[in-house]
């Protein structure tokens, strides 16, 4: 098991290295940031001084090595535009996105998995058919449209929940979280629901497919022959057997939600990293773009690692170093 973890960590490090190079080259190949940084009527001298100051005159590979060296020390550079460290900037926005994404994915799982199991258990019932029809909607209706409808319904017409922005936060470990206050939860509800619909639909479909398959297995027949109740069979056998693909999707969805909550953050004016990356792209703020993408890659790699390791917990056949 330990050897497996070390092997996976080394793999993760290589993935990160490759990602950082790709991101760096990709982002540095577009546009000319110096045009953004200094006024168009600056003298040639000021222009060249600025280029030297930001290291933009060096060959790409030297810029990359310098970048990598700083990266290893946790230094992602400074924002061209705001002139504050990128790490600080991204980290200040990350908790907002983190809690939004986590709320969305958890909502998707806690609502979607039971509904999916039910739909797989009773595929012919009207309720199951309604659940499946709704899941098709969850897949196909665009996020921004649902977001606007949610705002119109719950914020404008019913006036139950706020239409946007993030609620008051509570400091835990030096980071502000809004889900710890009642008001914060009210602000979180609509954007989280908006972001979770797609995940919810996906969890419903996956759980349903898994449940249908497992219900036909000899494992379930044997459990029934032993006199287990249907509820025990669903909770103890089926849920455990379908959990492995669910965990994979949960992890990947969490990662992609973190990275691409842009639409929802924009509609609900949620001050997360999604809004930050949009701003940095419009202003060609390369350090922020690069730093953001590297952090996102890091999050993905970490989540993948956690998912892989949780397989070993969920599936005893993958555990090594045990007596065969």
């Amino acid at each position: 098991m330990l050897g497996y973890i070390i092997q996976r960590l080394i793999q993760a490090a290589f993935v990160m290295l490759a990602m950082s190079a790709l991101v760096f080259v990709g982002v540095y190949a577009i546009g000319n940031p110096i045009d953004v940084l200094i006024s168009p009527d600056a003298t040639q001298d000021i222009r060249e001084a600025a280029i030297r100051h930001y290291g933009l005159d060096l060959p790409l590979w030297q810029q990359y090595l310098a970048f990598l060296g700083r990266l290893l020390q946790g230094d992602l550079g400074r924002s061209f535009v705001l002139n504050i460290p990128v790490l600080e900037l991204v980290l200040s926005r990350l908790p907002a996105t983190l809690e939004l994404a986590l709320a969305a994915v958890l909502m998707g799982a806690f609502i979607g998995v039971p509904l999916g199991i039910y739909a797989g258990y009773r595929p012919e019932s009207p309720a199951s058919k309604a659940i499946m029809a709704a899941s098709v909607l969850g897949f196909s209706v665009p996020t921004f449209w649902v977001g606007l409808i949610l705002i119109l319904t719950f914020a404008v017409n019913l006036d139950w929940l706020p239409a946007g922005d993030r609620g008051p936060t509570v400091e835990v470990f030096g980071v502000g979280w809004s889900f710890l206050t009642r008001e914060g939860l009210a602000f979180l509800a609509l954007p989280a629901l908006n972001l979770s619909l797609f995940k919810l639909a996906m969890m419903v479909r996956l759980s349903r497919a898994g449940t249908r398959e497992v219900m036909l297995s000899d494992t379930v027949k044997f459990a029934r022959a032993a006199g287990l109740s249907e509820f025990t069979i669903l909770r103890r056998h089926v849920l455990r057997l379908i959990s492995i693909p669910l965990v994979t999707v949960f992890g990947l969805e969490f990662g992609s939600t973190l990275a691409f909550a842009v639409v929802t953050e924009t509609i609900f004016s949620w001050p997360g990293v999604g809004k930050l990356i949009i701003d940095s792209i419009t202003s060609l703020d390369r350090p922020v773009m690069v730093g953001y993408l590297v952090l996102v890659a890091f999050l993905f790699v970490t989540i993948n690692l956690v998912v892989d390791l949780s397989y070993a917990l969920l599936d005893p056949r993958l555990r090594r170093g045990r007596r065969a």
């Binding site: 036909l216 000899d218 494992t219 029934r224 022959a225 455990r240």
Partner: protein, 323 residues
């Protein structure tokens, strides 16, 4: 002998498929005494498993029991409400399946799975359940039973896994165990071991056993009586020795001739010509007639019951009675 444990009368289990009604079990009747071992043999697809599942109330949709009666210890099981049926399953009637690798849940320990089976019938706390589980494992010959409770199915060999499944079936000391080809997936040497152990366990605890197999040889070494099934019907029944040495039905004769152990040495094994008919489109009369060397025009009508209550068959032209 006291009143029968199990009395099955004219059992019919049909599958309502898109292609039509498939009569998987088509008028099966038999009785089983307490502690008796009954073999049920027939080629694959003859309806043996569906018969077993009908008895325990677990016929898969689109199948359902279309008629007949199953009396278990005087209680009618056909039409019994699911909660009452569930109370019997595992407690008084247990079942073991063919492939232990598929029946045991790969992601739960043996102990967890056995505890669930104990607690399905109110078996007290976690500790009591584990003790009962360990005792049951020891009974089926699993060494170091207490420690093995924390092992997962993949940590056992195929034979050991099937012993675990049998131990689960034995947990509540049921009066009837239905064993559906439990040794078919195992090595021959392990098959023989498990057969002998099952026989001893059944005799020792007074459990009645219905042993389903496609292999007449397996059944003959174990059972007191045997029933031969073909196309959803019992075509021959009788004490094992009589059926083996003086079969009445040409189908039983065919099964015997295809057994390596019982054939005359030097002679080629005789396969029954043709294959099992589709249960969806059975012609009237004897379903075996198209494959039967003794068939005549009479076989186009339903065959009569021949022989006596002990040893009988459904046939127009039984063996040992002229052509």
């Amino acid at each position: 002998m006291s009143a029968a444990l199990l009395e099955v009368r004219d059992l019919r289990t049909h599958f309502h498929t898109r292609a039509g009604v498939l009569k998987a079990v088509d008028g099966v009747s038999f009785t089983l005494a307490r502690g008796e071992i009954l073999g049920l043999v027939g080629e694959s697809g003859s309806g043996k498993s569906v018969t077993g599942f009908s008895l325990i109330g677990l016929v898969d949709p689109p199948g359902r029991i279309a008629g007949g009666s199953i009396r278990f210890d005087g209680q009618e099981l056909v039409g019994l409400a699911q909660p009452a049926m569930r109370g019997l399953r595992g407690k008084r009637i247990a079942m073991v399946f063919q492939d232990p690798a598929a029946t045991l849940n790969p992601v739960l320990t043996i102990g967890q799975q056995m505890a669930m089976a104990v607690q399905a019938h109110g078996g007290g706390g976690e500790r009591a359940a584990r003790e009962l589980a360990a005792r049951s494992l020891a009974r089926v010959g699993i060494p170091d039973a207490v420690a093995r409770l924390d092992a997962y199915p993949h940590e056992f060999s195929g034979g050991m896994r099937q012993r675990v499944a049998i131990a689960i079936a034995l947990l509540h000391q049921p009066e009837l165990i239905i064993a559906d080809e439990p040794t078919t997936a195992l090595d021959v040497s392990i098959q023989a071991q498990i057969l002998a152990e099952m026989k001893a366990l059944a005799k020792e605890s007074g459990t009645a056993l219905i042993w389903i197999s496609h292999d007449l040889a397996t059944v003959s070494s174990l059972a007191d009586r045997v029933m031969v099934m073909y196309a959803g019907r019992i075509v021959e029944r009788g004490p094992v020795a009589e059926v083996l040495h003086a079969p009445l039905h040409p189908y039983t004769r065919g099964l015997l001739d295809s057994l390596p152990a019982l054939a005359t040495p030097g002679q080629r094994l005789a396969q029954i010509p043709g294959s099992t008919p589709s249960l969806l489109s059975l012609a009237p009369g004897c379903p075996f007639a198209p494959r039967c060397a003794r068939a005549s025009t009479a076989c186009g009508t339903d065959p009569p019951q021949v022989g006596d209550a002990r040893h009988g068959a459904l046939c127009h032209h039984p063996l040992g009675a002229g052509p």
